[in-house]
Amino acid sequence: MNAHTIDTSAPVICADAYDATVFYADPDAIAVVAHTTAADAVALPHPDASTAELLAAAQEAGRRAVPAPFAETALVARPLLRRARLPIPDGPLSYALAPDLTIRYAHPAASGVGSAGCSGDDDALLVTGTLRRVPWARAAGAVVVLATAPFGPVLFTLTPDQAVLTPGANLAGEPRDDLHLAALEIPASQVRRVPPDLLEEAGLRAALARSALIAGAAERCVGLTVAHTTARTQFGRPLSRFQAVKQEEARLIEETALVRAAVQAAAAPLDTGVPAARFAVAAAKTQASASAAEIARIAHQLHGAIGTTRLNPLHLATTRLWSWRDEDGDETHWARRLARPLTAANLWPALTTEP
């Protein structure tokens, strides 16, 4: 199949439907998916869509294993650009949060050292270092970077062709590329000073976007598993009629419902602001990452041997679950952040605060 004519009306745009090597190497192919108008396709929502709508769309993208930085663009990069009052480019975008970079003024002031350290004639930056495992970097029209410059927290953008790209991938084959920046000059027009809490907001957005993708992949596991246990007959009856199978299938459904509920519950708090979102987003990513193993385990167990192969689409969901649970903070990271501020007196109020 030609990479430019991806059939987005298929129930799932699956990695088997195209030659992955060609596809991932071709940014235009990904743009096709991201901008498709096919009836049953997942299109990028309008930038004005509510967080709840964006999450629902990201979940659908996760369910279909859409091969594009869909959630990354809609839920992370675009809102951050908007917050920083930078123009939002069309097409797929990506992000790198708090990378370990050396950042200097590109045009240091002749007057030298001021009260706040070195100063510059303008905010143009000279950036050196590596952005690691940037999602879909090779396909992104721009990468949004949040970092700390000499004058404080800063958001800037770059295009992947300004960097040396080392391709990489996660367990699902999704691009996770390293971008090496060697004294790259970022013009002042692409740099914005931002409030310190935007760094935290960016982390929350990325974690919630990833959680929504996990919820979608989990739902795909349920759909595939129910279809399989209903269709597959052994000992003269469908697998779904075996008590032992029912017990596991119920747990798969429960765990999936749990992740979905946690994701939904974070939408309104994220719209309210960082303090309100801290608890709900940390809980959502903790739950999504913690549930991924059980969801993948049950789905595979109930699929039997066929699920371990590329003859069956289950791997599209499970390899993503195994990757996404670690990306943008795993359950250990988020559980600690969730628990750190909790006390005997504020645990219950934290659980019952309305956005």
């Binding site: 419902a257 979905r260 946690a262 809980a283 005997a344």
Partner: protein, 390 residues
């Protein structure tokens, strides 16, 4: 499953109305007053084990018992979600709510829905005043998960009343409460789900014999309720003769999805945090607390989703089964996690309310969490049966 059909995975997300926040604040200040009185002890499983009729009556004075009952019957006419807020506050605080628990959760709504006007006028104002406590008489020795196999019989008497004979098991609080709603067979039918009816039995009536069934902790919460030819007036039939099964199963979604299905051991987590505040906490301890908290939060959101469905009059039995399985398993996991996060020998004889005593209490109660209100293995069958309907 096509996306268009209602799925057991997609629950509605609920944002509680502003009135709920106001109510929550009022309940918290009431709980502060009660703590000062020494009645709210932060104990686990307080909806089973916290029996305090005085507390129930003071709660009723605030309008928080039978609060979803209509005002014409003495209720507060509040919504189901508002009731949810009140009971989750009470359970999280470990308040003693077991005296009125069944009256509030089941008997009130059941009499309102199925009762005659005479029954409503008699029972509902008393329930809402915290002066009339009910037990449930469903299970029997040979009739646990398979409830339709009940053997207790109700026969017509010559005077138009009923005579009940049989033994109910696990009748919580029967030794202290006023009435029990009893499921009995009134008619022999081919279909065992037909021919059952519900009755309101005065627990002080002649022929009622209550025999304690002690829990492994030694506590007396449950009883065998022997009905030895108990005579009831005809007016004590609840709902229609032969509709007992339908009436009982209609209540199950209410019984299975509430906050008591995931908060029973919550006070133990609060106790753990209190202990940890006196120590330097390790990263691993934080991780465990965070994982538990995330799961509590997520299950609560699902449970609220069921409450909203019920409030809207939508069927919710499958979703309720799902919440109960998740929630009651968490109650056990929480207890085990608390034990491993802060190694503490569980001690039932330690100072009441101390961490080792609360841990012992939660542990001794733990096998019951996934049994009461419908065994979880049966509930998981209900969840997958739902898939076949799609």
């Amino acid at each position: 499953m096509s996306p268009a059909t209602p799925s057991p995975i997609a629950f509605p997300d609920v944002i509680l109305p502003q009135s709920a926040s106001q109510l929550r604040t009022e309940v918290r200040s009431f709980l502060d007053e009660e703590r000062a009185r020494g009645t709210v002890l932060g104990r686990p499983d307080s909806w089973l084990a916290g029996w305090d009729p005085g507390f129930s009556r003071r709660l009723a004075e605030r309008g928080w018992v039978g609060m979803a009952l209509p005002t014409e019957y003495g209720g507060a006419g509040r919504g189901f979600l508002e009731r949810y807020v009140v009971i989750e506050e009470l359970l999280a605080a470990g308040a003693p709510v077991s005296a009125h628990w069944v009256s509030d959760r089941q008997a009130g709504p059941s009499v309102l829905e199925h009762g005659t006007d005479e029954q409503r006028r008699f029972f509902l104002p008393r329930i809402a005043a915290g002066q009339c406590f009910f037990s449930i008489g469903m299970s029997e020795k040979g009739s646990g998960s398979d409830l339709a196999s009940v053997a207790t019989r109700a026969e017509r008497t010559t005077t138009g009343g009923w005579r009940l004979t049989g033994t109910k098991m696990w009748t919580g609080g029967a030794h202290a409460n006023d009435y029990a709603i009893v499921l009995a067979r009134t008619d022999e039918t081919e279909d065992k789900h037909a021919g059952l009816s519900q009755f309101i039995v005065d627990l002080r009536a002649p022929g009622v014999r209550i025999e304690p069934i002690r829990l492994m902790s030694g506590e007396h919460r449950f009883n065998a309720l022997h009905l030895e030819g108990v005579e009831l007036p005809g007016s004590m039939l609840l709902g229609r003769r032969g509709d007992g099964w339908k009436q009982v199963t209609g209540e199950l979604a209410f019984e299975r999805s509430g906050p008591e299905r995931y908060l029973s051991t919550f006070p133990l987590l609060v106790s753990l945090l209190r202990e940890l505040e006196q120590r330097s906490v390790t990263a691993e301890q934080l991780t465990h607390v965070g994982i538990l908290t995330a799961r509590l939060h997520s299950i609560r959101r699902l449970s609220l989703g069921v409450a909203a469905s019920l409030d809207a009059g939508a069927p919710a039995d499958i979703r309720a089964a799902l919440v109960k399985d998740l929630g009651t398993r968490l109650e056990g996991t929480l207890t085990e996690t608390v034990r491993s996060v802060l190694p503490t020998p569980a001690d039932p004889h330690a100072t009441p309310g101390s961490h080792p005593e609360l841990l012992a209490f939660a542990l001794l109660h733990s096998p019951g969490y996934t049994l009461r209100g419908g065994t979880n293995e049966i509930l998981r069958g209900i969840i997958t049966r739902g898939l076949e309907q799609h």
